[in-house]
């Protein structure tokens, strides 16, 4: 598994191609997994969740975000620790309900846009402001099996 902050590590054979015995402490660039008894099976919690205390699951209802990769019935991971930025898919509070939309910040306004162009944008008025509940980081879709 790659860390979230650093670039992915790439494994290449040593130059010269000689069969050099890898030293476990450096060969993988991840510390020393080979002799660390603490290494276990890949865990989706580690892979998908960056901020465990700030992450919540929600269910998507509706298909206006299908083009953005989120469909009706998908489970999404929502991370409240991430500061919402332009083009993030967010969960916003609109009329006391939770709405999933792309956040679009423009010089003169902030709006919530569906991926489906026929769905009107929700323009955030200056007096109510925008309440972003959290940023969507992953979508999980169950396939028929």
């Amino acid at each position: 598994m790659y860390s979230h902050d650093g670039p992915a590590q790439v494994l290449k054979p040593a130059a010269g191609g000689a069969a050099r015995k890898p030293r476990s402490s450096v060969a993988f660039g991840f510390g020393s997994p080979a002799d660390d008894s603490g290494v276990g099976r890949l865990d989706l919690n580690d892979i998908l969740i960056r901020h465990a205390q700030a992450t919540f699951l929600m269910r998507v209802a509706g298909s206006s975000m299908r083009e953005a990769g989120l469909d009706d019935g998908d489970l999404v991971l929502v991370d409240r620790a991430i500061t919402p930025l332009h083009n993030h898919v967010v969960i916003a509070i609109v009329d006391d309900g939770f709405v999933c939309r792309s956040l679009v910040t423009q010089p003169h306004d902030v709006r919530l846009c569906a991926a489906d162009a026929s769905v009107p944008d929700i323009v955030v008025s200056a007096d109510t402001g925008l309440q972003v509940w959290g940023v969507v980081t992953h979508a999980i879709r169950s396939l028929p099996v």
């Binding site: 205390q53 919540f56 929600m58 269910r59 620790a81 509070i93 309900g97 309440q131």
Partner: protein, 439 residues
């Protein structure tokens, strides 16, 4: 320096994270079987709703003032509590979880501006979990608790204290004159450990403010009120008297937790510890003649061992019917532990909390018509006698002389369904109850 961090109106705040329509409205949370108010929003407090007030006395406010009543959702509160506690733990070398919504942080050895640290903690908990907290900083537990009271009151009632004390109040950075003004403005009954009766007696004796009691002669106080009040006054004067486990009991809950000397990795050791905690809290529960409606178990790894995989779960199981039976409580706690435990983690702390407490008399002998009919190992009366016998033996031969064997696993499985009419979904612990977002 110590900090007392707690969530403002915890249960109501948890509900509001997932139901924005409740923000700004008067809200109360009702205990098991919807009997009494166990949490109130500030708006409900302003309507005059008292803590532990029976619901039927305030029901009329639903129509008249838009009061919203919700049934307690301890699974949700337990999970939100765990998120908050885990975040707070990273701010100080030592954390002592005091109740479902408050913990002490010990900053011994930490340099820097603790007020700023407190503000950072508050901001992080608010952003990450949606829960508003108050932070009180001072030299002793009693003072930290009082500073927290000031932080909360300054925010809720503007004008009661200087506005810069709102949300995060650090007694350590006030001048002697400022501190004196705060103590003069604070009623003596607000002090942790001074109950209603003692407060009334103090007022009869002319002691009204915290400043009054701080200036009273400790020896005279001891003669008249006993050693507990004397200790409280010493704490108010900045002399630490309360050790780790010596805090007065939190309202509405009983807790036992411990940091392990060495990290624990095996389920067997954790089971033993948790089972022991359950026995202790059960004993305390019976000594106050109460039963518990839910049990919370938490575990945590050390946030300071950054190379360790972190896992700090917490889960809450509703008990139906509410019980004070050590075996049932221990069984519920160990089952919860087994469900949370993940091999390969180095746990440094565990705890058991009993919540949703209610007087035993109300439920004694009452047949549970809606419960499942699993045959019980003994009748209720025999069970109470057995528990009494256990308590006596433990008192005589020391705590733990008689305990529940691991046979507890076979004990009756408590149903997790409670009779609660207005309970909100368990948004964070049940997949079929998560929030739906429209897209």
């Amino acid at each position: 320096m110590l900090a007392l961090v707690d969530v403002n109106n915890m249960y109501v705040s948890c509900e509001r994270v997932f139901r924005p329509s409740l923000v700004g409205r008067p809200v109360v949370v009702l205990s098991h079987n919807d009997g009494v108010c166990v949490a109130r929003s500030n708006e409900a407090k302003d309507l005059g709703v008292e803590m532990a007030q029976p619901w039927f006395q305030v029901r009329h406010l639903q129509r008249r003032a838009g009061l919203v009543a919700l049934s307690a959702n301890f699974e949700l509160y337990g999970d939100m509590s765990n998120r908050m506690m885990t975040l707070a733990a990273a701010y100080a070398p030592r954390q002592e979880i005091y109740s479902i919504d408050e913990c002490f942080l010990d900053f011994a050895g930490v340099r820097g501006n603790l007020t700023l640290l407190g503000r950072a903690l508050r901001a992080q908990v608010l952003q990450w979990t949606g829960l508003p907290t108050s932070v009180g900083l001072a030299a002793t537990k009693t003072l930290a608790k009082l500073a927290n009271h000031v932080a909360k009151t300054a925010e809720r009632k503007p004008g009661s204290y200087p506005s810069q004390l709102a949300q995060v109040c650090n007694f350590g950075e006030l001048s002697a004159a400022q501190l004196e003004a705060v103590m003069r403005a604070t009623e003596v009954g607000a002090v942790w450990g001074i109950g209603r009766k003692t407060g009334a007696r103090l007022r009869d004796g002319g002691v009204h403010s915290v400043l009054d009691v701080m200036r009273a002669d400790p020896v005279a106080l001891r003669r008249q009120f006993g050693v507990v009040l004397e200790r409280t006054v010493r704490e108010l004067r900045g002399q630490p008297c309360l050790g780790v486990d010596e805090a007065p009991d939190a309202n509405q809950q009983i807790m036992c937790s411990r940091s392990f000397g060495e990290p624990v990795t095996s389920l067997a050791s954790l089971t033993e510890a948790v089972s022991g905690f359950a026995s202790r809290v059960a004993h305390q529960l019976r000594s106050q003649r109460s039963v518990a409606g839910a049990v919370q178990v938490f575990l945590s790894t050390s946030p300071f061992h950054r190379q360790d995989r972190q896992h700090s779960p917490s889960a809450t199981l509703a008990l139906r019917p509410p019980t004070a039976d050590t075996r049932l409580l221990a069984a519920a706690a160990t089952r919860t532990l087994e469900a949370m435990f993940r091999p390969g983690h180095r746990y440094v702390k565990a705890g058991v909390v009993l919540v949703d407490l209610q007087p035993h008399a109300r439920t004694a002998g009452e047949p549970d018509l809606f419960g499942d009919d699993t045959p019980q190992p003994a009748t209720g009366r025999d069970r109470m006698r057995l528990m009494r016998a256990m308590d006596t033996l433990n008192q005589r031969f020391g705590r733990g002389a008689v305990d529940v064997a691991s046979a507890v696993r076979a004990a009756r499985r408590p149903s997790s369904v409670a009779r609660q009419e207005q309970r909100s979904p368990r948004y964070t612990t049940r997949l079929d109850e998560v929030i739906t977002a429209r897209a």
